[in-house]
């Protein structure tokens, strides 16, 4: 610690260059914070305790392939199954095709399997009793300014009605609230419509479901139950794949895009660039201080102390920029989420992201400082003082 002022003074010897490098580091770690929140948001989908007790059964071929609705009764009879519900993707958009809405036609008992979705008894009754009724996630309602009693038009990008029109109308009868905001942000974005209305209105869905949701009696038996469900359709024209909700969510996300890979690739490129940039800064900073380092060694600083001081300088540079960047991300995420009107529901920068961020700061700092520190350690005093 007694060398800290020396390390600090060396770091800010060329203020403009150090500040510009700091800005780059801040930008990189701000991006890391935001993208890691996106990745976490996707990774958390289906990771609740309730989610662990649920299985999702879809077509083995593709998630757009439907399954016969009659499978529900067969699944119900499998040992270890507590309840079965079904749903199908509606694919709605509001006003503009860019305003995609996570809309699903759901079985009457669908909400029974999702205790983490809070909805009042009166609203559930209204949903069951209103053919065109819809339950809307809290954030989604906020995003479009919907409230109970509104009549909402949605255009399905998949299903037309019997007249061939893809324009559907729904009456908002209730608002869905996720009880666990950390893992249930997904539910705040949902739009649920009555299965009966959907199934009877479109000519393209009779007797088919997009997927089944099964609640098991014992979480530890989930794998066995999943195998038993898939065995029901083995060697048929509608073979199934049953997975835990977590695995199904991850697989579903991957069919849209491998968020982890995208985030990882972007961050890899960003940090690689940062490595070159801050590496160059450190090399220059140490090169122009050759005679000063020689003086330190002359007056008795050991080669190891010099090595440690240069490494500390580069780690300090990364830590200062990294903390500012991640701190900025922490402040910005709620603003971005609020500003998106519920479209984005990013989790706060969590302990895991901070830990990973700190490890990256330390790691990049050491890598960046290694070569200049090594050169400083091996510096020959006599040559350096003579300007050779």
């Amino acid at each position: 610690m007694k060398y800290l002022h020396l390390v600090w003074a060396s770091l800010f010897r060329r203020k403009t260059r150090t500040l510009l490098t700091l800005v780059s580091i801040i930008a990189a770690f701000l991006l890391f914070g935001l993208l890691d929140a996106v990745r976490t948001s996707f990774a958390q989908a289906g990771q609740s305790a309730n989610g662990a007790a649920r299985l999702q059964t879809g077509s083995k071929l593709s998630f757009i392939q439907t399954l016969p609705l009659s499978l529900a009764q067969q699944i119900e009879r499998v040992d270890g199954v507590k309840a079965v519900a079904y749903a199908n993707w509606f694919g709605g958009a509001y006003q503009d095709p860019h305003n995609q809405v996570f809309s699903f036609a759901v079985a009457p008992n669908y909400l029974d399997l999702f205790p983490e979705i809070a909805v009042t008894e009166a609203e559930r009754k209204a949903f069951a009793g209103t053919r065109t009724g819809a339950l809307v996630g809290e954030k989604l309602a906020q995003r479009f300014g919907w409230k109970v009693g509104d009549r909402v038009p949605l255009q399905s990008n998949i299903f037309p009605d019997r007249s061939g029109s893809k324009n559907w109308h729904f009456d908002v009868v209730g608002i869905l609230h996720a009880t666990d905001k950390k893992t249930g942000g997904w539910f705040d974005q949902m739009f649920m419509l009555n299965w009966k209305y959907f199934d009877e209105t479109t000519p393209y869905n009779q007797g088919a479901a997009g997927w089944f949701v099964t609640r098991v009696t014992d979480v530890n038996q989930a794998d066995r139950v999943a195998r038993a469900i898939d065995a029901l359709s083995a060697n048929s024209d509608h073979e199934t794949r049953t997975q835990t909700e977590q695995a199904a969510s991850a697989a579903w996300m991957k069919q849209i895009a491998d968020i982890g890979l995208i985030v990882g690739s972007i961050m890899g490129a960003v940090f690689f660039t940062l490595l070159l940039l801050s590496g160059n800064t450190m090399m220059q900073a140490v090169r122009e201080r050759t005679s000063e380092i020689a003086v330190l060694k002359t007056i008795g600083f050991s080669s190891r102390s010099v090595l440690a001081m240069v490494l500390a300088e580069s780690v300090l540079l990364l830590v200062l920029g990294g903390l500012a960047g991640l701190g900025l991300a922490t402040l910005l995420i709620p603003v971005v989420s609020a500003g998106s009107g519920g479209m984005l529901n990013l989790p706060a920068v969590g302990a895991g992201s901070w830990a990973l961020g700190l490890a990256l700061m330390g790691g990049i700092g050491i890598v960046v400082g290694a070569l200049p520190a090594w050169n400083a350690m091996r510096l020959n005093i006599v040559d350096a003082l003579a300007g050779r």
């Binding site: 007694k2 060398y3 020396l6 003074a9 003086v295 330190l296 007056i299 008795g300 050991s302 003082l385």
Partner: protein, 230 residues
């Protein structure tokens, strides 16, 4: 007076690519404790190399150097660094202060290698600055000081850890006459009143007059005054 520095059969060879250059040949030299010695000679005569060897900045190719009874030519790099920190103060021609640190912080630098507390380090640095007449410039950065003042700060840095030996490489080489006189006067006080042994390399005969004795080097060998005159 007991001997502080004993140099025997000292030689130094530098390798420049494939070429070997013998810079010092079989030097024998004794410096008494409390002495003030000037080393003179033309450029390339080996004065700075000899000074570097005495200060433990470089290792000889042959022969031995004892300083205060310690064979410094036998010390490993880490031990030599430790020895320099406690036994030697260095004064350079171009001061070599840290430009981003204040005069006070520059003087404190050698004390960072001790176990002294921050308060004690500050106190000792203040005393050293007072000794060189720059107590009122403690918070100034080197760029805010004149050449003579910077050299006095570097002398304060050299003496702050109370070393027995000061090695000075052309300490007045970059100064005007008045500043040079001030710096040389300060070195004389440190030698006379504080008992510091000083070995100083200089080109300037006027600077050498401040020393008790002067040794001349030519082509890597010590030469007697008679030979020099011849």
């Amino acid at each position: 007076m007991p001997k502080l520095i004993e140099i025997r059969d000292l030689s130094k060879v530098y390798e420049r690519g494939r070429q070997k250059v013998e810079v010092l040949h079989h030097i024998d030299l004794d410096v008494d404790q409390g002495d003030f010695v000037a080393l003179m000679g033309p450029s390339g005569s080996g004065k700075t190399t000899l000074l570097n060897l005495i200060g433990g900045l470089d290792a000889p190719t042959g022969g031995s150097i004892s300083v205060g009874g310690q064979r410094i030519d036998q010390l490993k790099a880490a031990a030599l660094a430790k020895w320099r920190a406690s036994k030697v103060g260095f004064v350079f021609q171009f001061y070599n202060l840290m430009p981003m640190l204040s005069a006070q912080r520059n003087v404190e630098l050698p004390l960072l290698l001790t176990k002294l507390s921050g308060a004690e380090r500050r106190k000792r640095a203040a005393i050293a600055l007072q000794l060189v007449g720059l107590a009122d410039r403690a918070s100034h950065k080197p760029t805010e000081l004149s050449g003579g003042q910077q050299q006095r700060v570097s002398i304060a840095r050299a003496i702050v850890s109370d070393p027995m030996l000061l090695v000075c490489d052309e300490p007045t080489g970059d100064l005007d006459r008045q500043s040079a006189e001030d710096v040389l006067g300060l070195l004389r006080v440190l030698n006379r009143d504080h008992g510091k042994t000083i070995v100083m390399v200089t080109h300037d005969p006027k600077a050498a007059e401040y020393a008790h004795r002067t040794h001349h080097l030519d082509k890597g060998s010590l030469v007697a005054p008679a030979e020099l005159a011849a």
